[in-house]
Amino acid sequence: MIRNGASKSLESNPSDDICPVCKSNRYLTPSLQFLINPECYHKMCSTCVDRIFTSGPASCPVRYCGKTLRKKGFHKAFFGDLKVERECDIRKRVGAVYNKRQDEFETLLDWNNYLENVEGLVFDLVEGGKEDKMRAEEKLRAYKERNLGEIEANKRAGLEEIEMEKRRERAEKEAARQRRLAAVREAEEEKMDVEKSRREVLEKLASGEGDAREITEMAQKVVLKKSGARRIASEAILQSNGSAKDPNLTIRGLKKREAPVAEKPYEPFGGVDLAPSRYVLQEDYDSEWLANAKKDQRHAAGGFSLHEYYARTMFEAFSGLGVFIEDEMGSKALPAVPSSIGTEAAAEASTGKIKVEHKMELDDVF
C-alpha cells in the first residue's frame, strides 16, 4: 500500500500532479492538494472543490459520474491508491455493523464461519458488480436493523475496552512515578540518618564518655539496623500496592476463570484400602518366640519391624478364609490351564515327538 506522502518523490505519475477537473499543474501551483469524496472517489484539487461546492451540493464534475456531492464529504485521501482507500472505508462501515467478537462464539469453527461471511460481504461491496453491490447493501442494512441493540452493545464494549486500556496505562505510569518519588525520598532520608548518627557519634566522642571503639561500633550497628528496617518497610508498602488492585482495571471480556481446585496428594495405589476387615491389628502381641526379637536390638537394626511381622502374620491368617475354591474353580472350564507352553524351537528340538492332539500337551524342553 502506498501512502500519499511517501509516493511523491518515488513516482512520477502525471495523474498525481494534474487536477483532472481544472488541469492545473503542480509545477505551477505547488500548493496543489487533492481531495476525494467517498461517494464516488473522484479526485480533484482543493481549489476545484472550493469553486464548485461552496455554494451548496452539486453534481460531480467528472464526466458520466453525476453523483451529488457536498463539500462536507471531501477529505484528503490516506492512501495513494484510491481503490485501497475505498476498500478501507467499506471495511470500516461493515465492521461497525458486524462487530461481534470471538468470545461470543462457542467454537472456533463458528467464529471462522462468521468471519468468512463478513469477508464475502465486503468482497461483494468492493469488487462485485452492480447487482452484487445492491444485494450486499441490502443485506447489511437488514442486518443492521435486526441487530441494532447488539451492535450498540458491542460498540460500547469495544469503546470501554479501549478506555480501560488507556486507564490502565495511566495508572501504571502513575505508579511508576510514585515509585520513583519514593525512591528519591528514601535516599534522602537515609542520607539524613547517616549524617545524624555521625553527628551523634562525634558528640559522644567529644564528651569523652565510654570507650571510643565501642561507640563507633554501636553507631555502625544502629545504622545497619535502621537501613534494614527501612528496606522491610518499603517492601511491605510495595506489596500492599501490588495487591490492592483496582477492580475496574481488570480486563473485561476474558472467559471466566475457575479457581484451581486444591490438588489432592498423589495416591500411588489409586485409593486401594488395605485396612483389615477380619481382625484388629494390635500394637503388640505376646509371643514366646518373639520375646527375643523384641529385646534384642540387633533384630531391628536392619530395618526389621515387629509391626510388619504382626501385620503380615495376621493378614495371612485370614487371607483367603472366605475363598471357596471348590465353588469358585468349579465354574471354570475343566482344563483350565496349560495349553502347550513349549515354543517352536522346543517342539523342533524334541526329536520325533509324537503329536498328541490335546490341550494338556506340555512340550518338552529337550
Binding site: 494390635q282 483367603g320 507352553i341
Partner: protein, 374 residues
Amino acid sequence: MSEDERYRTSTQYRLWSYTPQALLALRTTTNQIAADRVREAVRRIREARNISSADTSEAENGRSASAAIPEGEVDCLTVEEELKLVAFYSRQTLQLGDHLKVPTDVKATAIQYMKRFYITNSLMTYHPTDILKTALFFATKTENHYFRLTKFADAIGKTKPEDVLASEFLLTQGLRFTFDVRHPFRALEGAIMELEAFAKGGVPPLPGALIVEGTLADMEKRVKIAHGKAREYLKISAALTDVYFHYTPSQIMMAALMIADHELVQWYIGVKFPAADGVMLSKVLEVIEKCADMLKTVAPNSEPSAAEKKELSALAKKLKKCRNPEKMDLVALQRAKREGDGEDEEKIVKKRKLERESSAREADDLFGPPIKKE
C-alpha cells in the same frame, strides 16, 4: 480390598487351585499322554534296533535306553500308582530336607513344586529322584535360604551339580514360571498370637466390634497345646496331602487347629463371623471340616506300613520298566541340546568369516577381482 480379594490375586489361587475333579482329570490326561509316548518311544527304539542290529554305532540315547528296554508290551503306571509314588517321593523330599537341615518352609515349597510339576508331567517321563533335587534346590532359593550348588550336591551325595541343574528349565516350565507358594505356617502364628491376646482380654475381634467377653475356660493353656499339635499337622500332613490345591492357606491353618482343638476353632470362627452372617459362618466351618478330614488322612507321625512299603517297592520296579527311554538321561539331553545349539552357531560364524575374507580379498585388488579369461 479385602483379605480374600488379595488372596485371589496370587498365582496359587489363579493357577494352582483346582477342584478335586479337575485335578483328577488333569492327572488322568497327563498319565494317558505319557503312557502313549512311552509306548511310542519304545516301539521306535525297537524298530531302530531291528534295522541296525549289526551296526554298533547307535545313537547314544538309543544305546543307553536299549539296555533297559523290556520285551513285550509296556506296562504303564496308572494314575493311582503315580499318586502313590509322588506321595512316597514327597516323603523322601522331607527326609532329604531334614538331612540338609533346611527350614520347614523350604521343604514344604519343594514338595509343592514337585506336586505341581507332576500334575502336567508324568513320573514315567521324568523320574522323581531327579526332579525332587531340583525342586529342593529351587525352594532354597525362593524361600531365601541360600545354599551353594556344589555344597548342595555334595550334601545329597552321589549327585553332581549338573544333575541338579539338568531339569532346571524343565521344572520351571512345569511350574508355569510361578514360584510363589503360600504356606499356612505364618498364618498359624498369627492366629495363635491373636488367640493368646483374646485369652488375656481387651482385644476386639473385628473392626468396630466389642471386646471379646466370654472366653473358653483355661484358654491360654489350650491355645498353647493346640499350637504345637497344629504345627505338626501343617508341617507333615499339609505337605503330603493335596490340601494346597483345594484350600487356601488360611483354611488349612484353621483345619490343622481344628484337629488339635475342635471347640477352640469353632469358637474362634464364631467370633470372627458374626451371627448375622450365618450362611458364611456355616460355610467356612464346613470347608474347614472338609480340609481337616483331608489332613487327617496322613497323620504327622505315621509311617508307611509294611504292606505299603512292599507295594511301593513293587511300584518303583514297575516304574523302572515303563520309563520313557528317550527322557532317561536328563543330563545327556541337556548337554546334547546345548552342544547342538553351539554347532549351529559355529556354522554361522564360520560362514560369516569366509564371506568376510573373500570380500576383503576382492577389495584388496585395485581394480576389483580379475576378469576370467575364456
